[in-house]
Amino acid sequence: MKALNHSEARTLIERAADGLLTSDQQRALESHLQGCADCRAYAGEFAALEAALGDTFLERWGKPQLSQATENKLVKQLQETFGPNGGSGGGPGAKSFGNWARWAGPLILLVLLAAAAMATLEFRAAQPKQETVELMLDLFESETPTPTASRTATVTRTVTKTPAETPSPLVLVAIPKRNANCREGNGNSFDIADTLFEGVPYTPIARGFDNLWVQFRGPVTNVKCWAFIENIDLLIDEVVTPIEEIPESLLPFVGYPPSPTPTFTATPTSATQPQCSDGIDNDKDGAIDMQDKDCKDRLDNNEFD
């Protein structure tokens, strides 16, 4: 077993605290600490920092929980919404109980309109069922609320086509290859807006001009956000399809948002080279530049994720 130097020992002290030591490393560290007073002092300082951090948070926040009344209110709301007699989550969110009441009226109206549209569809054209569903989705997923007359007009215009003229609509879904951050824009400098979970199908909204980022509606936050193409598979009718081959009619191009204004001073590294080609282990995980799996390409300026 190779003896550790002080720097290696201190690195292992931190890794031990994070539960990342192998048994060999554990033995090497113990052996080094037995003979090194400086590193034992460092380990003591490190333990004191960890204890102080825990104490600081406890002093600041304690161990609070929801009041019983608030918990009861939350349980009641969940039971009413998701219980046997509930609507099982059709609502748009839950900022407060007042919000549900505010949404209830328009939602009922929308459902009634949609039902009327469906009836019209069946009566006039006997359209295939799948297309009817697509139309309904268009109604519900419309980004900007439109006047009722306009919605009805859309449906009427569509149903005037005969079934023979309308090919079966292609279905495009995106399935994350791993849990993927969905950011406010096309880069790691943008805030994370939501998370796309591995294996769960999502409907992409659009893509950037360079085919590198795909836009979604955040499943939890319901805000528009962008996921990197390498983190997702795009499937047309269940077949994985390269983004370049996806027609614009299924996935339109849209502009990226402007770069965010930095809110903190970045750690100074190389002034000119992106982190993934500057020859520096910026995130200190032992891998440099493209050896670091957090680097997407040599132009990526973030070795951290």
């Binding site: 931190e14 994070d18 539960g19 990342l20 300082e45 490190f46 920092l49 960890e50 102080a52 951090l53 825990g54 104490d55 600081t56 948070f57 406890l58 002093e59 600041r60 926040w61 304690g62 609070p64 929980q65 929801l66 608030t70 918990e71 939350l74 349980v75 969940l78 919404t81 998701f82 219980g83 046997p84 099982s88 989550g89 969110g93 839950a94 900022k95 407060s96 849990n179 993927a180 951050n181 805030d191 994370i192 807006a193 939501d194 998370t195 979970f197 294996g199 769960v200 955040g218 939890v220 936050t221 805000v223 809110t263 903190f264 995130d283 200190k284 995980d285 799996k293 957090d294 994720d305």
Partner: protein, 189 residues
């Protein structure tokens, strides 16, 4: 988490819903409080998180622990609240990000820092960017393991460790400086 309890929640069993909320509300509320540093906003975010989780419950596949999954949902809800707060702040032309500044309206949960060291550490924590602050919160307040933090944040364990390490280096510096100031200020015996 009992998978039977989750299955009962998915089918809308009122008792199961109550049990699940009771089991996880404190953890989620503390997470929201630690991100938003405002008791009222944290309550709202906790409610929002549970509702978002129940809406998405059918997509939960049990790949990660339920608590980890719920925490990642709550994180996104809180991030969304912070963004709204930032927009409000911009509107009021206040340039300083108020999150974690400690200057918000005092609430019963906000305790006065007892010592110079704690105050210094708190200030240093509040100056970390979110990428480094979040693992520190999750580790030292919420007591999650490195693997759990990795799962919640969607990054690998090595990245969690490197972020913790960078943050701890900064915090250790702040703590040392505070200790030096305390020693200097202490009257000689």
């Amino acid at each position: 988490m009992d998978s039977e309890l989750l299955a009962r929640c998915q089918s809308g069993d009122p008792q199961a819903i109550e049990a699940l909320v009771h089991e996880h509300q404190a953890k989620i509320y503390r997470l929201c409080l630690s991100m938003l540093d405002d008791a009222a906003e944290a309550e709202d975010a906790t409610q929002e998180s549970f509702i978002a989780a129940f809406k998405a419950l059918k997509s939960y596949r049990g790949d990660s622990a339920f608590q980890t999954w719920l925490i990642s949902i709550a994180l996104n809800v809180c991030r969304s609240s912070l963004r709204q707060r930032k927009r409000r702040t911009r509107l009021s032309e206040t340039l300083e990000d108020p999150s974690l500044s400690g200057d918000n309206i005092p609430t019963p949960e906000q305790h006065t820092m007892r010592s110079e060291e704690s105050r210094a550490l708190w200030t240093a924590i509040s100056k970390l960017d979110e990428k480094h602050r979040m693992p520190i919160f999750l580790r030292y307040y919420h007591e999650l393991s490195t693997a759990e933090i990795a799962s919640v944040l969607g990054i690998n364990e090595g990245t969690v460790h490197s972020r913790l390490s960078i943050a701890r280096t900064q915090l250790a510096g702040a703590l040392k400086r505070a200790q030096a100031r305390s020693r200097k200020a202490r009257p000689a015996k």
